[in-house]
């Protein structure tokens, strides 16, 4: 190994007032120029470790040395922080100034760097993250990925030798994640910067030279990513999951194919082709996937026509969020809405329960007078079941009780003293005549269906629960009114891999037993492909396409041109198709794998 920059010896740390160690006996050496990824479930101690490395926290036992300096000595802290920079999770909470260059200047200013040199550093740091054009921009008007790149630049301007990213991509959409990860890889390769990447995304962890898996404050596994991701069962016990691609590899191997531990779609496609070629299969075609039949009585169909919306109308900052959206969602669907941050998808779903009302439904609406020679724009309309949202007289309260809306990070909206009171809040708002028994019964059943123990949590403060539990309570607080339609904005955002899987399982359960229609807004293509029957792609305020997943993702090149990703299976399929093997799957890993095996096994017969 190259010269060590960080050495931890038997590191132990406990948060005051909490039982047990958050970190319990960590021994770790990070080499100069290394790219290390750290994965582990929520609460495994990943972030604690990052904070110990630059003295934001102080270890109870053990020793950390950074560039030969002991972190536990106060006089070393200033110098250590100059060497070790951290980029945190939420880009909004690390920006100090309202102008990009002022924010990047903050670090060097603190170090007393001279003005001219600060100017040079700003230039260098911004170009390192590809944001030189935004030098005088306002961070709050940038996208998540751009904001986070500014945060990276702010840390780079201090000229650290080690860059720690503490779940810095967790709150970003795929484009933003890609932007940040590209920057980090380039810094590692070109500038030789040591990188410690803490992440929940297995596909990011794969990019490192070395990966460590933390479990309950201890290093459970350590090694190169392909070694780590060989063993799915072990990861599962640490509340992690194999990356999707490793699962496909495993299943193909189980079917007798010779597949290495491929971690990129192109290597996997090559391996599959090699196997097929060895059996003399050079071209093949599978049947089209069966499209899932939805038995629907169409009582609660959602129909949107000509929907447009402009923020800050008549001001210099007016932005068109929606530009003529037409969309129909059948009663009973598990529907996906895909789009970047800022594509208009949040504006769209807020129309579904009249949080944003159609102009005709506003109290003071006057029909615009027709001008001569100007064709008036078509009137927008939204109907949901029997509710006409363009009508002033519609009972919007009843509508909201029927269309449940779970916002992003819903746990941040909890407020009551007990879980019971928080869940009952919506119920009491919508129906003032319920008896205590009725309320209790409804709260109990909704807390139970989200997978919590009612007796255990009902009197607890929601703020004392774990992150995953809080989110469940927040969902219970929405479904307690038994809505027909449940809309969720990024329901799995920020959760660890196991938490994500559990939330998706919960949504399927709700879809079967509780709410007829479930609509999820997501920017994770694999999540949509695995879970939704149909999906719509929203781009720049318009519906790009709305179709079953297989047809939607078949337009791969167009989606990529919009800056969107496609599911993993589509990536592999298209590489195979270039070589004569046409696998038409419904985009789920399961269907894809079985079809590949079908082609492979088919040659046996």
């Amino acid at each position: 190994m190259s010269e060590p920059v960080i050495i931890c010896q038997n590191l132990k740390f406990a948060y005051p007032g909490q039982e047990g160690y958050a970190l319990n006996g960590i021994n770790l050496t990070v080499g100069k120029g290394e790219f290390l990824s750290v994965i582990g479930h929520n609460g495994s101690g990943k972030s604690t470790l990052a904070r110990l490395f630059n003295g934001l926290l102080t270890a109870n036992e053990g020793k950390i040395t950074v560039f030969g300096k002991d972190v536990s000595l106060r006089e070393n802290i200033a110098e250590i922080r100059r060497h070790v920079g951290i980029v945190f999770q939420n880009p909004d909470n690390q920006t100090v100034a309202s102008i990009v260059e002022d924010d990047v200047a903050f670090g060097p200013e603190n170090l007393g760097v001279e003005r001219e040199e600060i100017g040079r550093r700003i230039e260098w740091a911004l170009s390192a993250v590809g944001m030189e054009k935004f030098r005088t921009a306002t961070p709050s008007r940038l996208s998540g990925g751009q904001k986070q790149r500014i945060a990276v630049a702010g840390v780079l301007a201090v000229k650290p030798d080690v860059l720690i990213l503490d779940e810095s991509t967790a709150m970003l959409d795929p484009r933003g994640r890609r932007e940040v990860i590209d920057v980090v890889r380039r810094l590692n390769k070109e500038e030789g910067m040591t990188i410690i990447l803490i992440t929940h995304f297995m596909d990011e962890a794969l990019l490192a030279d070395r990966t460590i898996v933390l479990n309950k404050g201890e290093i459970a596994l350590e090694g190169t990513p392909d070694k780590i991701f060989e063993n799915g069962d072990a990861l599962e016990t640490f509340n992690l999951r194999l990356p999707e691609i490793s699962v496909i590899c495993q299943n193909l191997r189980a079917a007798g194919m010779e597949i290495g531990n491929d971690l990129t779609p192109s290597r996997l496609a090559e391996d599959i082709l090699k196997n097929l070629h060895s059996r003399g299969i050079f071209s093949a075609q599978t049947g089209k996937p069966k499209s899932a039949q939805i038995i629907s009585d169409h009582l609660w169909d959602i129909d949107i026509k000509n929907l447009s919306y402009t923020y800050s109308k008549k001001s210099p900052f007016a932005t068109n969020a929606l530009k003529g959206v037409n969309l129909h969602i059948d009663d009973g669907e598990f529907f996906g809405i895909i789009g970047h941050t800022g594509s208009g998808k949040s504006t769209l779903i807020q129309h579904l329960n009249a949080l944003i009302k159609l102009p005709q439904a506003e109290k003071r609406y006057h029909k615009p007078k027709a001008k001569k020679g100007v064709v008036p724009p078509p009137e927008p309309s939204v109907t949901i079941g029997k509710f006409n949202l363009a009508d002033k007289k519609t009972d919007f309260k009843a509508l909201r009780a029927s269309v449940g809306m779970v916002f992003q990070y819903p746990e941040y909206q909890l407020f009551a003293e007990t879980v019971f009171a928080d869940v009952a809040f919506g119920l009491k708002n919508f129906n003032k005549n319920l008896t205590d028994e009725e309320i209790e019964a409804a709260v109990k059943s909704s807390v139970e269906i989200v997978g919590l123990n009612y007796e255990e949590v009902k009197d607890k403060s929601p703020f004392d629960l774990s992150g995953g539990q809080k989110r469940r309570v927040a969902i219970a607080g929405v479904i307690v009114t038994k809505p027909h339609i449940l809309v969720l904005d990024e329901p799995a955002a920020g959760l660890d891999p196991k938490g994500k899987k559990e939330i998706m399982e919960l949504l399927h359960k709700l879809h079967e037993e509780w709410c007829k229609t479930v609509i999820i807004v997501s920017h994770d293509m694999d999540e949509v492909a695995e879970n939704c029957t149909r999906a719509a792609v929203i781009s720049e305020g318009r519906v790009f396409d709305c179709a079953v997943c297989a047809d939607l993702f078949a337009r791969e090149s167009e989606l990529r041109a919009l800056g969107l990703d496609v599911p993993l299976t589509v990536k592999i399929s298209s590489l195979l198709a270039e070589n004569g093997i046409a696998v038409q799957s419904d985009c789920t890993a399961k269907d894809f794998t079985s079809k590949v095996i079908g082609i492979y096994g088919g040659a046996n017969a």
Partner: protein, 282 residues
Amino acid sequence: MLNDVTFGQYYPGKSFLHRADPRTKLLALIAFIVLLFVSNNFYSLLACAALLFLAILLSRLPLGSVLRSIKGIIFILVLTSVLNLFFHGGERLLFQWKFIKIYLEGVVFTVFLVLRLFFLVMASSVLTLTTTPVSLTDGIESLLKPLKYIKFPVHELALIMSIALRFIPTLIDETNRIISAQKARGADFESGNIFKRIKAIVPILIPLLISAFRRAEELGDAMDARCYTGSKNRTKYKKLHFGARDAAVFAAFAVLIAGVVLLNIYAAQIFPQIYEYLRLSR
């Protein structure tokens, strides 16, 4: 509710006034206000108004945006006008009805007062319309710098102001999100009596406070991690520079100050007949 995500009154532009140094503009506003109150006759007031309208022309702001600022003080204007009109004594009685007496001096004084307040508010809004809150903060910090020598925490104050400005849009977004989320759960913020409405705010306020504290904590960590140790040995990247524009502004003000002083002294001798009518009682 909180629909407008834009903050402050800043009206983007690249005019002469937009580019002038914020310190110049701040000092000019202070000087202007002082001159308004020093003016004791309509001629002086007219001189101030001339400079104000020159400034508005140079700022290329739509006149409407400047006039709109008056909306906020209309109530005060009407109230003081009525009081002055009815209770200002004088010699030349214009109108009498029972105990209500209106004198010419009262009318003149009321007009004078209203104009003065008008100009004051318009001038302040020219400043806020042409200056971003950020450069305003920079300007204030720079002007307060001498107070460092009496141990006044100028840097800390400026940092607090700039962080507050930085987080206003973020917190407005957050508030909107929480309001939407609670509305989706049937919360009603628009009806009921005052007590009901105050109670209805709790589901917004608590999540907002919790999140503000969480943000503060994270921001603190991020600042520590970026080597923040207070104002000691700190340099500042942004330096404000006075330029030709600022010299022009100062020159204009020198002329105005001289003008107001002279007019204050010699007002009675300019068009004496008119002056006699517009004389403010003393």
